[in-house]
Amino acid sequence: MALIDLSRKEVHCKIVYYGPGRGGKTTNLLYIYNAMNNGVRGKMLTIETKGDRTLFFDLLPLNLGKVNGFDVRIQLYTVPGQTIYEATRKLVLKGVDGVVFVADSLRVRREKNIESFNDLKKNLTEYGLSIEEIPLVLQYNKRDLANSAIPTLSVDELESDLNNELKAITFEATATKGIGVFETLKEISKNTIRYVVKKHLLADI
């Protein structure tokens, strides 16, 4: 649910990074925060966490410049990935305009990826949104581990688990090193803005 302020010519969109716990959602946001300069990024907000888990959400506001005379501001949110925080996840998803699903390449996390993806579908449906309609980008994170001794899922396996029917755009990433992070952000921002703008006929883009 974007906010379009015609008096100040601003569009506010909400993009949520979804996915299983410890998959690298917050790492994505932190990398973006550290790589961007102050003119573009706002303050990153992290709600007190226990260890390295996100308990409620992280928020990073970004100013993406102008599209057809409208200032575009996006807010990146993460959700807590752990299964038990279902209510919180649903809350953060409220009013979402675009979703990045961060999947974990570790083989032991296979079930968690699928569970989280189904949870995303369910929560979107409860807000009257469908996963086919909403802008969605899949990010297969921790690809650097594919070359290590740790058992990982191949991209084909991740595709067949998560993207068999949807055929959403995917990126391979190593969020700790920033690989694939900006590619993901660029794609989801572009799609989200296009989705919102088209819906309101603010411009033909």
């Binding site: 649910m1 506001p61 949110y77 953060v92 009013g95 979402v96």
Partner: protein
């Protein structure tokens, strides 16, 4: 869920109402936000003192969390929420299904007055945004 489109006359009217009902009563900051955490309007001298983006996101989340608590104990919703600080206090009230009015005021303003004015104001804002039907 539809997007919220704001036009200048609607915003100006809402700001005017907030100004008359709360700022003139001594409240120092009022934010009108949506339940996704976007700032719709901010009023008062101190709005620039705060990180309003973070405040709106947290206020929406806080309100959402409280609504969940309400449901857990069998209530539909808590229509208002209030936190008391040493100097400043904060009052949240739902406006229609989508908006939340956040009022920040010092100890020189009585909570009763804020509650009364907010309850009158929410009706007026619902009307301005066409949420009263």
């Amino acid at each position: 869920m539809n997007d919220l489109v704001l036009t200048a006359p609607v915003l100006e009217e809402a700001r005017q109402q907030i100004e008359n009902a709360l700022i003139k009563a001594g409240v120092h900051t009022v934010l009108l936000i949506d339940d996704a955490g976007n700032v719709v309007a901010n009023c008062g001298q101190d709005a620039r003192r705060f990180d309003t983006t973070a405040l709106a996101a947290l206020a929406a989340a806080n309100f959402g969390a409280t609504s969940e608590i309400a449901r857990l104990i069998g209530e539909d919703d808590f229509s208002l929420l209030f936190h008391k600080g040493k100097k400043d206090s904060i009052h949240f009230a739902r406006v229609g299904p989508r908006l939340i009015l956040v009022t920040i005021f010092g100890d020189e303003v009585a909570l009763g007055l804020v509650r009364l004015r907010v309850s009158q104001l929410t009706k007026a804002i619902e009307k301005i945004f066409g949420l009263d039907s």
